[in-house]
């Protein structure tokens, strides 16, 4: 292991704690606090990974997670970034995207073919001929993709956390810390987030021992700890900012859903690469990366370095490097006027060779292209190009690039901010921001440490004022003085075309020129065609150089060219953080436990669970369902219909309101009687059906379908307002349980349990009575949904199980069976009753559904009436009919929604179907063309295997068309 630098307060490592780990099968040792990249660099390992397309050798570039040179997997997690992955004992790491290991990597042959892989190659090469695409796809999937998923991995459950604060500050650099500490003095809850393991930001690595940095660091890190209303979260990324200040925080173990009232975004800048030949090889890196290596990890970044600078930061870097014992071969300054501050003098005092007005033409590679051995340096001409007539060779092992910055703008864009280019700084600056979003620090164009602190205070006080806790003065923003910290065009062409703009996707300068030549002259189009910024780092190092290139190709300013916006996530978020428990609330009826205890097969019906059927020993599902139906026909059955929507409509306008909601008439309905009702929407489509019960002159009780109940109730509430009806609506769907006792024995069974006189004359069909059942107050309605004598019994939910059990006990001697949804569907199908939403769809009008009889005549108004009247005049396109099957021994049997054919033409579809009915033959309900709706018309139903099943149109109801069953008792049957 190479020696580390002398310990210093800014270091993140603990040199007393060595940590052994493995990389690509070789053992190394680092220290606690090291990230993988720093530990490898300290071990002299600079070749870290292979690039995505050409499989070129890459090494640490940003040391801040802004590049993917070192993208690794540990056997359990993939796509880990080596410059953010803290090592721990036993870590066994492999690089992704290689075939046969990092060193050999057989895929590196792709680079030999790079001339054949121009920009847009995939789009042009693989879409024709079409029949070859499956082959291409297989090969692509083999080659593409980063990392392997371990399917045998154990599942890591990731908790979801919630938090809220008044002010969120993102970035714990000088301005972020100053903002958070300032705001915390004003009786607000403040949260400060930083992705690094320690606070301080650039104070910790950019010239950290100078007085302003040291003072700010010691003051604010101390104050962070002292403020009780300030929560600092290190090692946490803000993955995205969403509507109304909803913010996703991601750390190693959880996702936190944070709601804040205001935000200070002190997210800083990304240092940017310069574009020159071989600018991607291991040994070429950002100046800030070298500083991070030195000041966070005590690693000497180079032996002999060439520094390419275009700002004061580059000169400061040189002084830093000299301090760490690095020999400076040359300081190359792109600017023609050099460094205006005294840093120039200080650098020259250290006898550094300074070339002003020069640029790097090429990083000269060592054999094998896995490291560099020097730099070719040329003067910059009047047009900003390199003049290759003069070439200065400088031997070095490292080239450090310090040519400029772009704001870390992702969150600012997501929060609704917009940017404009400021040529004083050669940088984008926020131009418009929402009222509750504030930007400070380097992202706001403020570069000196004291100014950053003041800018943080300014942003904080503005935020506190927005939050209503401050009305004092707010410091102004200090304008930047001196030369811009960023070079306007640090991009140089080279005939060998290995001058990369985007390291994720291996896109070089000529790719942009070619794309532009093909007409991709808009930033959004160029991005998609070249895929710049679409790799794992989302263009942190490439987007803005791409914009600069396009602006130059178009001969436009940056503002005219425009920038691409930034969507979440800031960095990739592990899927485990996003995956969560499935919150799927289910409503259970009061009788649910009884059903389960009695072998019910439960099913979902909308948001409710209902018995589908009850399992019986030795009986198949179909036999059990048929058995339940037969029991209802011959004896008596009981079904839980508690999921029915149940609504009280009361008040002076109750009758008039219902006349406006339903198509039928209710004003003259007798008290104690029920009527069937259909409700339409404004387009005349049936949206609901149910019974309307008149309990008193001004008091109605209506039911709605299980799945439509809440939507129907909502609609009633709105219409009551819009039509200005004096009614009170009470949704008692969950307050009341309901059960339907049906079958010839139902009257005899029920009479002993109730004080209501059930005799046919006193309580006829479609009558409704209120009374007691099993000692519980109940509403009883004689409905005919399943086609037998029956009573729907509505009781308070708390008493529903008691009544149910009483009926079951009493029913024993009548061979009672509980029946489920399937048997009910069969029984009502035999009776020809439709189910809204099952036999009707979102286009079905009352004429098609054959329920035009339920439309009241000469009504002044009901919802959808105008449409219904228009439809009445139009020819019918389809109608609901019964279908009877003559045989049931086809190998494939029709299912709901299968199409119906006549003479090879599609003429309808099945809506409901039962292969086994109590009638002894299969029946169905179907939409059919009206011309074919005549009884006995033969049609064919197309089933699986391209076969046809023959059916015959039948009159409905199939069963008891004259409703005689409603008054037949068990005794009369016998």
């Amino acid at each position: 292991m190479s020696e580390r630098l002398e310990p210093c307060e800014t270091h993140w490592i603990d040199p007393k704690c060595p940590v052994p780990f493995q990389f690509e099968g070789v053992s190394y040792s680092g220290y606690e606090g090291d990230v993988l990249a720093s530990a490898l660099w300290a071990n002299g390992v600079r070749f870290h990974g292979r690039s995505f397309k050409y499989h070129r050798a890459r090494g640490a570039y940003s040391m801040a997670g802004h590049d993917i040179s070192l993208m690794v997997e540990d056997g359990q997690h993939t796509n880990l970034r080596g410059d953010q992955l803290v090592i721990r004992p036993g870590l066994n790491i492999r690089a992704v995207n290689t075939l046969g290991g990092l060193e050999k990597d057989w895929y590196r042959v792709t680079e030999w073919f790079s001339k054949l892989l121009p920009v847009g190659f995939y789009y042009k090469a693989f879409y024709t001929p079409k029949w070859l695409f499956p082959f291409y796809e297989k090969q692509m999937r083999e080659v593409a993709g980063l990392g392997r998923v371990n399917h045998n991995d154990k599942i890591e459950k990731t908790p979801k956390d919630y938090a809220d604060c008044d002010l969120l500050v993102v970035g714990a650099g000088p301005s972020g810390m100053a903002a958070a500490c300032t705001a915390a003095e004003h009786d607000l809850s403040v949260m400060l987030i930083d992705e690094n393991p320690h606070p301080g930001g650039s104070l910790g690595w950019q010239n950290p021992m100078c007085d302003p940095s040291r003072n700010a660091r010691s003051e604010y890190i101390h104050r962070l700890k002292g403020a009780p209303n300030l929560e600092f979260r290190a090692g946490t990324q803000v993955a995205g900012v969403y509507a109304d200040q909803w913010v996703a925080l991601v750390d190693n173990r959880r996702l936190t859903k944070l709601r804040t009232r205001a935000m200070v975004l002190a997210t800083g800048c990304f240092e940017q690469p310069a574009v020159f030949q071989n600018n991607d090889l291991p040994g070429v890196m950002l100046g800030s990366a070298a500083q991070r290596l030195m000041h966070h990890y005590a690693v000497k970044p180079a032996e002999v370095a060439v520094v390419l600078a275009a700002n004061s930061d580059g000169y400061q870097l040189v002084l830093d490097l000299i301090e760490a014992g690095v020999q400076i071969a040359c300081l190359v300054d792109l600017r023609r006027d050099g460094e205006p501050t005294d840093l120039d003098q200080r650098v020259r005092e250290r006898e550094v060779r300074v070339l002003v007005g020069y640029g790097i033409d090429e990083a000269v590679p060592q054999r094998g292209n896995k490291a560099i051995r020097g730099a070719s340096i040329c003067p910059v001409d009047d047009h900003g190009n390199l003049d290759r007539k003069t070439i200065i060779r400088c031997d070095c092992d490292t080239i450090l690039v310090s040519v400029g910055w772009v704001p870390n703008a992702g969150l600012i864009y997501q929060a609704g901010g917009r940017f404009e280019y400021e040529s004083k700084l050669e940088q984008l600056l926020p131009s418009t921001l929402p009222d509750n979003v504030f930007v400070s620090g380097r992202a706001n164009g403020v570069y000196s440490v004291p100014d950053k602190v003041i800018d943080g205070q300014r942003a904080a006080l503005s935020a506190v004022r927005y939050l209503g806790k401050y009305d004092g003065p707010i410091p102004g923003l200090n304008e930047h003085v001196g030369s811009p910290p960023t070079h306007p065009y640090p991009i140089f062409s080279h005939p060998n075309k290995k001058n990369f703009v985007d390291f994720d996707e291996d896109i070089h300068l000529d790719d942009f020129k070619n794309a532009h030549q093909e007409g991709y002259d808009n930033v959004e189009l160029l991005k998609r065609f070249t895929t710049v910024g679409m790799g794992p780092t989302q263009g942190k190092l490439s987007n803005f150089n791409a914009v600069r290139i396009l602006a130059q190709l178009n001969g436009q300013s940056i503002n005219q060219t425009g920038t691409t916006t930034s969507r979440p996530f800031y960095n990739p978020v592990p899927l485990g953080h996003l995956a969560g428990r499935r919150f799927h609330p289910v409503s259970r009826t009061a009788i649910h436990e009884w059903h389960v205890k009695n072998q019910a097969q439960m099913m979902y019906a909308g948001a409710s669970m209902r018995p589908e059927f009850y399992h019986q020993e030795d009986k198949s599902r179909e036999e059990a369902i048929l058995g339940e139906a037969v029991c209802v026909r011959h004896h008596v059955g009981l079904i839980d219909v508690s999921t029915l929507g149940k609504i009280y409509v009361q008040g002076p306008d109750a009758a008039s309101f219902l006349e406006k909601i339903y198509a039928g008439r209710y004003a003259k309905q007798s008290v104690g009687k029920l009527r069937y009702g259909i409700a339409c929407d404004e387009t005349g489509v049936i949206i609901e059906d149910g019974i309307v019960v008149r309990l008193a002159e001004d008091r109605y009780y209506v039911t709605a379908t299980s799945s439509g109940a809440s939507a129907f109730f909502r609609s009633l509430q709105r219409w009551a307002k819009v039509l200005q009806q004096d009614v009170t609506l009470v949704n008692v769907t969950s307050q009341l349980g309901a059960m339907n006792l049906a079958g010839p024995a139902s009257r005899e069974l029920l009479q002993p349990l109730t004080d209501i006189d059930l005799s046919p004359t006193s309580f006829p069909f479609i009558g409704v009575r209120e009374g007691n059942v099993a000692g519980v107050s109940a509403i009883l309605a004689r409905v005919g949904f399943v086609g037998e004598l029956g009573y729907e019994i509505h009781v308070p939910t708390s008493q529903a199980l008691h009544v149910w059990e009483a009926l079951m006990r009493q029913g024993k001697k009548f061979s009672i069976q509980p029946f489920g949804v399937e048997a009910q569907r069969l029984l009502r199908l035999e009776k020809g009753h439709l189910i809204v939403g099952y036999d009707t769809d979102s286009m079905t009008n009352p004429f098609e559904a054959n329920v035009a009889w339920a439309i009241g005549k000469k009504k002044p108004f009901f919802v959808g009436q105008r449409s219904v009247e228009i439809l009445r005049k139009q020819p019918l396109l389809r109608i609901l009919v019964g279908i009877r099957f003559l045989k049931d021994d086809y190998p494939h049997w029709p299912e709901e929604c299968h199409l119906i054919f006549k003479n090879g033409k599609s003429v309808g579809r099945i809506t409901s179907l039962s292969r086994r009915s109590t009638l002894g033959y299969p029946i169905a309900m179907a939409f059919l063309h009206p011309d074919l709706a005549k009884s006995k018309t033969r049609v064919e139903i197309r089933v699986a295997g391209d076969q046809n099943v023959v059916g015959e149109v039948s009159d409905m109801p199939f069963y008891d068309p004259d409703n005689q069953r409603q008054e037949i008792t068990k005794k009369e049957l016998l």
């Binding site: 509507a243 404004e682 387009t683 909502r714 709105r718 307002k721 819009v722 228009i870």
Partner: protein, 88 residues
């Protein structure tokens, strides 16, 4: 995640609400052709700008109107339906 302000219950998370479509005053049925009626029933104006929409607070059953800019998704105001004040 958005927050919507119910005129009765105050600001609440958007999951508590149900969108009820754009607000359209009931037309005068006696004074319109079938074509006008069909236009009222089927056509909606999607052009960018401030739209009046129906929203429903599910937990409390409150229907109200929201003036929302469908371009910026900014809710300008929310208020209870008043037949006389919203007639256009």
């Amino acid at each position: 995640m958005k927050i919507l302000t119910c005129p009765i219950n105050g600001p609440r998370p958007i999951q508590e609400f149900h969108f009820g479509g754009s607000f359209r005053p009931l037309p005068d049925l006696d004074d319109m052709t079938d074509d006008q009626w069909a236009d009222y029933v089927f056509n909606r104006n999607g052009e960018p700008g401030v739209k009046t929409e129906w929203w429903y607070h599910t937990a409390s059953g409150v229907w109200f109107l929201a003036d929302r800019n469908n371009e910026t998704d900014e809710v300008v105001r929310t208020y209870l339906y008043q037949p006389e004040s919203t007639d256009v």
